[in-house]
Symmetry: C2
Subunit: 309 residues, 2 copies
């Protein structure tokens, strides 16, 4: 029997990079976390740490067959475009126009996959998590930012750029006069419902708000409006919601209830019956969706390289 | 040289069915229009007229090689599902659970394509109209209803059901207290911005409102919010807007301006530069997008049948 190929996975976020090497979700050989403030640390410095860690990991575990990157964005995800593999127009000045894949390629001459963190997470959840069997799938993360990725027929959705689902225009909750925190849009979804918005509106970190605090009903309103819009636009077979703000056992049921009320039986499908428990779900991979999604990108890159030979 | 195959095309709407036979957009041999009130005429009666017309058309033009149907919905568009080819849960009682393809198949034993009217229109525009070259494409119609279809990588988007883009939740225009006309959702996009909503809000038919009437700025607000949400969710390479409400020369420029203001330079792409003239466009096929889209569905059905042999 041939040994399984070893993959490198990178989940590149604004506050931390998570790296891993392994052959699959049951066999992650080693992972590490590089804390980083992308507002103060040059991208070259972080990428040097990344390549150095993978070189050390190779000395312990063997050669990498392919590397996958799931990154914060906006990012160049079109393989035919000049900016493929770049983090592009991010407002973080030290990271704008960073050639991530180029930096990796100079050290590792292997096939590479590259996509947004949320498209990667959707792919990981489809392969091994809560999205199995759902070729059209949406993954939303609600934390410091709000972002969404999607698969259509099992492949990440790109289009003109890539989805930026945090920036939907949605109706305000009744009586909510908060101005929003999005630097571009003020009261878009992210501006009203990310972690910093909750903290600014209520004066304390979202994680410290008790379950009976009105903040959660309001938060559920914004997320439910967003989920309805996703359902009406992309018609995903399942909608997976993860991220720090959802790390409790009471928000998701509230979002389901409000979402069902908003849909108001307009759409008939067994998956939408009952309380949406089968449509709106938590990640099956817990907090590993992104990293395992990056590993899935690496696997796909290797497979695609094989078919090109 | 072999003659081009002859196709039948059906654009099935709530107030009229448009039928055509031809080999392509430059060679539509004959078309007809069957006025129908789907609230008062049984579906069997209309479908009998449809099959009779195609039989007569065959006697004049020759045998049909395939038939394509673009229909109002909700409709069963998943070929693997039991309700494939049906108009399903429509609130029009005389049309609920109507087996459209079955009725056609009993008379015409040829390959058949079946999709929503708006997915068909997107396909037609992609093949021959304003969407050429845009594999990820959105088509929105704004008339008696509001509906949207999409292609992803050149194929219609289905997912769990199919898009129902008229039923987005979007923020109200400042000062707009209109309750909305959607029987399910009140003030969803369709409830606030379809033709009947404009007529009820302003007391006259939309087509009689002068270009300097405030109604149009308000209408542009709703459509712009929707287009932003489509851009952030599906990231279409182009967004085509047709339908009766848009049949004037001043609404689309207003929607573009509001849309650009809402995006506020958050996304950088040449197609989004300037005034969105290259992203938000009128149909290239005029009012023929739906019928020609149905013909494109017939072509694809014939091609797919060929590959199965």
């Amino acid at each position: 029997m041939f040994p399984s190929p070893l993959f490198g996975a990178i989940e590149a976020g604004g506050t931390k990079f998570v790296l891993g090497v392994g052959t699959g979700p049951e066999d992650m050989r080693e992972t590490t976390r590089i804390e980083t403030d992308t507002r103060s640390t040059p991208s070259s410095e972080i990428l040097a740490k990344v390549t150095a860690w993978f070189q050390e990991a190779e000395s312990r575990h063997g050669k990498l067959a392919a590397i996958g990157v799931g990154t914060f964005g906006p990012a160049g995800v079109n393989p035919a475009a000049a900016d493929y593999g770049y983090i592009t127009t991010t407002p973080k000045p030290l990271w704008a126009n960073t050639d991530v894949l180029g930096a990796l390629r100079r050290v590792f001459p292997v096939p590479m996959g590259f996509d947004t963190d949320v498209n990667a997470a959707a792919l990981g959840e489809w392969r091994w998590g809560a999205g199995q069997g759902c070729g059209t799938l949406l993954y939303l993360t609600v934390g410091t930012g709000i972002g969404g990725g999607a698969l259509v027929r099992g492949r990440p959705l790109h289009g003109l750029l890539h989805p930026e689902m945090g920036h939907l225009r949605i109706p305000r909750a009744a009586g909510d006069t908060f101005e929003g925190v999005c630097p571009w849009h003020g009261d878009c979804l992210e501006g009203m419902a990310n972690g910093p918005a909750m903290e600014k509106r209520w004066g304390v970190k979202a994680s410290t708000l008790p379950p009976d605090h009105g903040a959660w009903e309001m938060e559920a309103h914004y997320l439910a409006c967003a989920c309805v819009n996703f359902l009406m636009t992309l018609s995903p077979e399942r909608c997976i919601i993860g991220g720090g703000v959802t790390q409790n056992n009471h928000l998701l049921p509230r979002v389901r209830a409000k979402c069902a009320a908003l849909v108001n039986h307009y759409l008939a499908h067994p998956v939408l019956a009952g309380g949406l428990e089968n449509w709106l779900v938590a990640p099956g991979l817990g907090t590993r969706s992104g990293l395992l999604g990056a590993l899935a990108l690496a696997q796909e890159a290797l497979a695609a390289a094989g078919t090109k030979v």
